[in-house]
Amino acid sequence: MRRAVGIGGLRRKEAERLAMSKKGTELSQREIEKLREQIAMMKDNLEDFVREHQRDIRNNPAFRVKVQRMCQLIGVDPLSSRKSYMSELLGVGDFYCELGIQIIDICVATRSINGGLMDLDELLRRLIRRRLKGSEPVVEDDIRRTISQLKPLKGGYKIVCFGKRKMVQSVAREMNSDQAKVMTLAQYTCKFTMEDVRVAFGWDEDRIHSCVDDMLRSGIVWMDEYNEAYPEYWVMAFFSQLNSTLTMANAE
């Protein structure tokens, strides 16, 4: 005989549910407690680890990147402040500060020639060339980190991409989407004609002219009138990289 569900049954079920959820909360709280302890321990361990391997961190870029990632994962930002205990431990405060100054220096010195746009690889190449022998090696990840640290300076420093090209921009300027499209079009050849743009995007003359004029005005492109009827527009920032790879290819 099936027992009917009575008031008593419902009450008992409700009580059970409450008890269960109480137990659940208790469990999850205990779990969180445990996790907290673990993280605290991990932080301690990480500190010990960093202290022990400080020299490797400064000298080995791949290792440095890994430690940075680990720090970020557990909510330790070694770069958030130069005075933070982690940055002191890592000894990276000075490293990034120094790198930041070098990056600014290179960007400012070449701004009038490339319109404040430099290929990331080119920047890396120049950094490596100018840094003293025996100083810590630099990798792309270091540049990314440093540039994100330069944000408070409001210099417009950021990394922008055109197709496969990663560029460091060092002027506060928003490139409109037309310009970005043309840049992407020129990413491999490092040059374009107005005709190229018309064929690729089907824009009318006015639109092409205003886009090219903007790019000339901001100094990103230079004009080559070798063929007077069809002048070519060259992106200096793309060219340096192309040129260095060409030189390397020729040397081989």
């Binding site: 000339l216 230079w222 080559d224 070798y226 060259w234 260095s244």
Partner: protein, 189 residues
């Protein structure tokens, strides 16, 4: 790499990277880019002329040769653009127009200022004890005594400029001859 001491290297001139950038040979329409372009060209001209110890520049001829023509990328600078560049060099004191007045067809490239040549010559004369002796200008530039000196084989117009400087400083007296070369000079303390 290890052999780069102060000795002037007679090897090929090392062109900067931008030399293969085709737009370098077109006058840029954007003013601030043009300013940068002029700076690049002026540096290049002075470095090239210094490296090859060249002194005079005839615009119409020069544009068919390096550095104003880059055969590798088939680009040449236009004469009127070069004229603007020389105007810039003249303003900086690194060039001076020669030839017919206002023609602006040829110039001297002063990769070393006449004042610097002047003090080199003066110092040399001092060391050799040649003060108060009349020397010919030809002797100064081409004589055996000046072999190995920076001003040996110095172009006659540039040399004359340097001697003019010494005269105006009261350190030399020039004696005019029938030509620039048999002109004489006496230096004194």
């Amino acid at each position: 790499m290890s052999n780069t001491t102060a000795v002037p290297t007679p090897g090929a001139f090392q062109f900067p990277e931008i030399y293969n950038f085709p737009p370098l040979f077109t006058r840029q329409p954007n003013e601030s880019t043009w300013q940068e372009q002029r700076r690049q060209w002026c540096d290049l001209i002075l470095a090239y002329y210094r490296h090859n110890r060249l002194y005079s520049l005839t615009l119409a001829e020069a544009i068919t040769e390096p550095p104003f023509t880059n055969r590798q990328i088939h680009r040449s600078l236009r004469v009127d653009v070069l004229r603007e560049l020389v105007d810039d060099l003249v303003k900086q004191g690194n060039a001076s127009w020669t030839g017919a007045k206002n023609a602006k067809d040829s110039c001297l490239v002063l990769w070393r200022k006449p004042e610097v040549w002047a003090s080199m010559i003066y110092q040399w004369a001092n060391e050799r004890g040649l003060f108060n002796t009349v020397l010919t200008v030809f002797e100064l530039a081409n004589g055996d005594d000046t072999v190995g000196q920076e001003f040996h084989n110095l172009d006659s117009v540039t040399l004359r400029r340097a001697l003019d400087v010494l005269q105006s400083q009261g350190k030399a007296q020039l004696f005019v001859g029938t030509s620039d070369e048999d002109m004489g000079v006496k230096l004194f303390a």
